[in-house]
Symmetry: C2
Subunit: 294 residues, 2 copies
Amino acid sequence: MATVIDGKAVAQTIRSEIADEVRLLSQKYGKVPGLAVVIVGNRKDSQSYVGMKRKACAELGIKSFDIDLPEEASEAEIIKNVHELNANPDVHGILVQLPLPKHVNEENVLTEISLTKDVDGFHPLNIGKLAMKGRDPLFLPCTPKGCLELLSRSGVSIKGKNAVVVGRSNIVGLPASLLLLKADATVTIVHSHTSQPENIIREADIVIAAAGQAKMIKGSWIKPGAAVIDVGTNSVDDPTRKSGYRLVGDVDFEEVSKVAGWITPVPGGVGPMTVTMLLKNTLEGAKRTIEQNN
Amino acid sequence: MATVIDGKAVAQTIRSEIADEVRLLSQKYGKVPGLAVVIVGNRKDSQSYVGMKRKACAELGIKSFDIDLPEEASEAEIIKNVHELNANPDVHGILVQLPLPKHVNEENVLTEISLTKDVDGFHPLNIGKLAMKGRDPLFLPCTPKGCLELLSRSGVSIKGKNAVVVGRSNIVGLPASLLLLKADATVTIVHSHTSQPENIIREADIVIAAAGQAKMIKGSWIKPGAAVIDVGTNSVDDPTRKSGYRLVGDVDFEEVSKVAGWITPVPGGVGPMTVTMLLKNTLEGAKRTIEQNN
């Protein structure tokens, strides 16, 4: 049976490490990291995610800045707010909650975030540096960074291993592949145009699943002993629950946990790591700025 | 026996297409594309490469700008020249010949080249856009672009195929992987830390070899019918030649040509394509600028 990687526990450990560092910063320089979140409109999921971030910030001593703009805010108005946050020395990280309303061009807004405050790590210049040998991005995208932290804190080495990433989104699959490559894995990227992905996945020592397909990865697809990180969060009908649904990953947990060496559950695996890595990026940005200016 | 892809002939075809377009631009707007090359010092290989580029420009009606700086030129001086070329409206492409002398930081110089004139396509912002879904770089790096042109002009489709790139340099392996991924191949990147690369390469419908290891890829490593693009140019001793050496690729041509469906020779495969793609990038940059301003 696979070791189940407890993402909640790992995230908690990292959060207390962050809290310690925040305390040190505050003692030494009288300053704390600041994370700004811009939300436009009233999407319920965005609101609840942002609430979670705000609470986590409070627990770790990170200062929250919340910019709530109405659904009908113009692109120019959103960008004006981003510019103000860029200029605010107490803000070390800026996150614009996606999706933005349809009348706004997301790319136009995101490229206005100062590179030194791009804690999501999605700026193309950051992604380019992540891809290139000998270059280092200022921030690593949160979910892929969380996946690699789960591996390293579980004692899974990456160098020289065969790693397969399932999915190639800009926010998970692609940067996860680039990170694994930088860590000297042999990397294969599998996606919707791949025929017979099972044959490729079966050769992998490390699988990162980020395809958004409920339970697509079966036990027979997995090499015995492999480490399987499941980024998927798909809701499936479940009449036995009050809500009528439950969340499942891209991996068939029941089957795969019998074959793999390590596996992350959904929920409670990668999920708790994403916000934690955002907080860690904010801390890193703050340290860079505060230590530079002192 | 594999079809040998004649890179010289393909390059010649593309060059005459470029010459036609240059003529049209000149007739319509009275303007021609301009390519500037900056060389620092007297390296013989750089000089001969630059000579080749200059000759090719002349043949196609592209205007050459040559900036020759002494070996001891300072970083600031080189950057000043780059800035002048950025500002010169007759220059549509800027190439700084590498390597630069040891006292100069190459990254500092290269990031000064205007993105709209970065015909090498090596700027991290360009690489980031190449990596990301839904983003398009202004220029594709020349050698990988040449590899894909050779495939498409030989009738080899990429979508859904298994592609393996051997090597992960910033100028060939990495961007070639990203280009293949954008073209919907299932991509694996193999490198010096990969154990038993032969097992991975054997599954490939398309192989791009850019490892810099003479004849490392053997006939038994290749899936029958695969397309094999050899970017390697390694010099090996050859006492039967006056020069005492000859150039060989990363692929064992004799063996692999018996198994593969397509193969590029060395020399005469990818080599002639690289300069041709540089000229094509210059034309594309010129068209963008000239058509925008008219």
